[in-house]
């Protein structure tokens, strides 16, 4: 009867750490520990079974598994840090054990270096602007970090800015710029007049920015529009009339929860009217 003893010895909560393979696609909660494939053999059903040491290399081979977002290494196991569904991707070229990550819904943005975001200029102080990007601190944007920056050619308080982060970590205030490393604007800078800015979840932005996104293609066929996506969950949209702009904003917000059939129905109804 070694099994109950070993089960109790696994963790204080009394539940065994599960194998990552068996939990794929299921909801995991922060604090759970997951076993990687090569450890399951060692644990076994009883946990206290003794095996003779095998001399061939296969028994001690370690597969290199990549920990994606939502997971962290804890000793030999994976520790879940976000709640969501566990996903896995097989390695493309055969080496390594693939990538594990947790798909989670999140609306709150954490600045990351290199992300392109839409910010709102809130204040001028010294020779920098303070820009609200939806994070814990306003980002700073220097006067000179625009293409062709001159004294006249500057954003005002209240303008919308599309830029990227050059410094973004948990210890310092984030800094953003509107030029790339060559000094060119590359689409960044002050976003023009009119249009509507609204907020969606971060997951939807990533879905819309994926290559060959159907939603964007269908929306483009509906009305001519200008659209800017910020990785901080903000979308700016502008169409010819205010009514069209509002329709587009509502569609994009609702896209998160619609299936593709429902979406096609809505688009066809709009195209008729």
């Amino acid at each position: 009867m070694a099994e109950p003893a070993s089960v109790a010895a696994e963790s204080l909560a009394g539940s065994r750490a599960r194998a990552a393979r068996t939990v794929l696609g299921q909801v995991v909660l922060p604090g759970e520990e997951l076993l990687l494939p090569e450890q399951e053999d060692a644990e076994g059903p009883g946990g206290a079974v003794e095996r003779p040491l095998s001399l061939n290399a296969r028994a001690c081979s370690r597969v290199r598994v990549v920990c994606g977002p939502g997971l962290r290494r804890c000793g030999d196991r994976l520790l879940v840090t976000k709640c969501g569904r566990l996903r896995h991707k097989e390695p493309g070229s055969g080496s390594g054990g693939g990538v594990y990550w947790v798909d989670s819904q999140q609306k709150r943005y954490v600045p990351v270096k290199g992300d392109h975001v839409i910010g709102i200029v809130t204040a001028k102080s010294g020779d920098i602007f303070k820009v609200d990007v939806g994070g814990s601190e306003p980002a700073s944007l220097s006067y000179l970090s625009f293409e062709g920056a001159t004294k006249r050619n500057r954003p005002n308080v209240g303008d919308l800015i599309y830029g990227q982060f050059v410094v973004a970590n948990k210890d310092m205030e984030p800094e953003m710029v509107c030029i790339d490393s060559c000094g060119r604007a590359n689409g960044m800078g002050v976003i023009g007049q009119d249009g509507l800015l609204f907020k969606v979840t971060l997951g939807l932005i990533r879905k819309l920015l994926a290559p060959d996104c159907e939603i964007i293609q269908e929306v483009g066929k509906l009305y001519p529009l200008e659209i800017v996506f910020g990785m901080n969950g903000r979308i700016w949209v502008k169409a010819k009339t205010i009514q069209q702009t509002l329709i587009l904003a509502n569609i994009l917000e609702a896209c998160e929860h619609m299936t593709s059939d429902q979406r096609k129905q809505i688009f066809s109804r709009l195209a008729e009217s």
């Binding site: 970590n169 210890d171 800094e175």
Partner: protein, 243 residues
């Protein structure tokens, strides 16, 4: 040690000039001795035997110099070192000599970081231009109240000062050995520098919370996760390392 007989506040009248002679922390007006500090009253005689009874007369004339340390004010030690030395001739008919009346603070004089002193400090916050620190030790003496210091970007290293990134030299929570270069203005903090081989980060923790091991003058490695992080590492002399 007997508790002091009384405390006094600035402006309080202590005694008559015939009963005592003024020492440090006091001043005289209209034939009386007044206190100019907040502290405890002390009377002493020439041969250093203090007795703290109000109104007692000694047979000696003495002025005792007590240093004034203002514990909380870092400037007090420099400005307040006033030493009053007055001697009153004792008239022949008053044969007992006057005790010296002075007012002292209870705490010992504060140890202040001086220019050129090596201090141990802890980084409290960082900015792209400087790092703010709390000074904890001066030399090997701990401070009761920590002072604030600033390490500017150009004072982190001696070479390539303009290419320094504060994020790659210090992080909040690091323990740093630094040297005082300036006392700063009235409102600002001490200015510190780490622009020497022996100065810089001594203790740092990685993102997973484990104390890191230095591997070069600019990198430290976590022993558990083997991730490397950038710091400006101090080259501590071997005799100070505890292994």
């Amino acid at each position: 040690m007997a508790p002091p007989v009384r405390y006094c506040i600035p402006g309080e009248r202590l005694c008559n000039l015939e009963e005592g002679s003024p020492g440090s922390g006091t001043y005289t007006r209209h034939g009386y001795i007044f206190s100019s500090l907040a502290g405890c009253l002390m009377k002493s005689s020439e041969n250093g035997a203090p007795y703290r009874r109000c109104g007692a007369l000694s047979h000696h004339t003495l002025v005792v110099l007590i240093s004034l340390g203002c514990a909380a004010d870092p400037r007090g030690g420099k400005l307040g070192q006033k030493q009053m030395r007055t001697q009153y001739p004792i008239p022949a008919q008053l044969s007992p000599a006057l005790p010296v009346v002075s007012v002292v603070r209870e705490t010992e004089s504060q140890l202040l970081p001086d220019v050129g002193a090596i201090v141990t400090c802890k980084v409290s916050s960082i900015n792209s231009r400087f790092a703010k620190v709390h000074i904890l030790y001066v030399g090997s003496m701990p401070l009761k109240n920590s002072f604030r210091g600033t390490i500017r970007k150009e004072d982190v290293r001696a070479t390539e000062k303009d290419k320094v990134e504060i994020y790659k030299s210090f992080r909040p929570g690091d323990i740093v050995l630094a040297k005082v270069i300036s006392l700063g203005d009235a409102q600002s903090n001490y200015l510190l520098t780490t622009a020497e081989n022996e100065l810089g980060v001594v203790v740092a923790h990685s993102e997973s919370g484990i104390q890191m091991v230095p591997i070069s003058w600019c990198e430290m490695q976590c022993p558990k996760t083997h991730t490397k992080e950038f710091r400006k590492v101090a080259r501590v002399q071997p005799e100070f390392l505890q292994t």
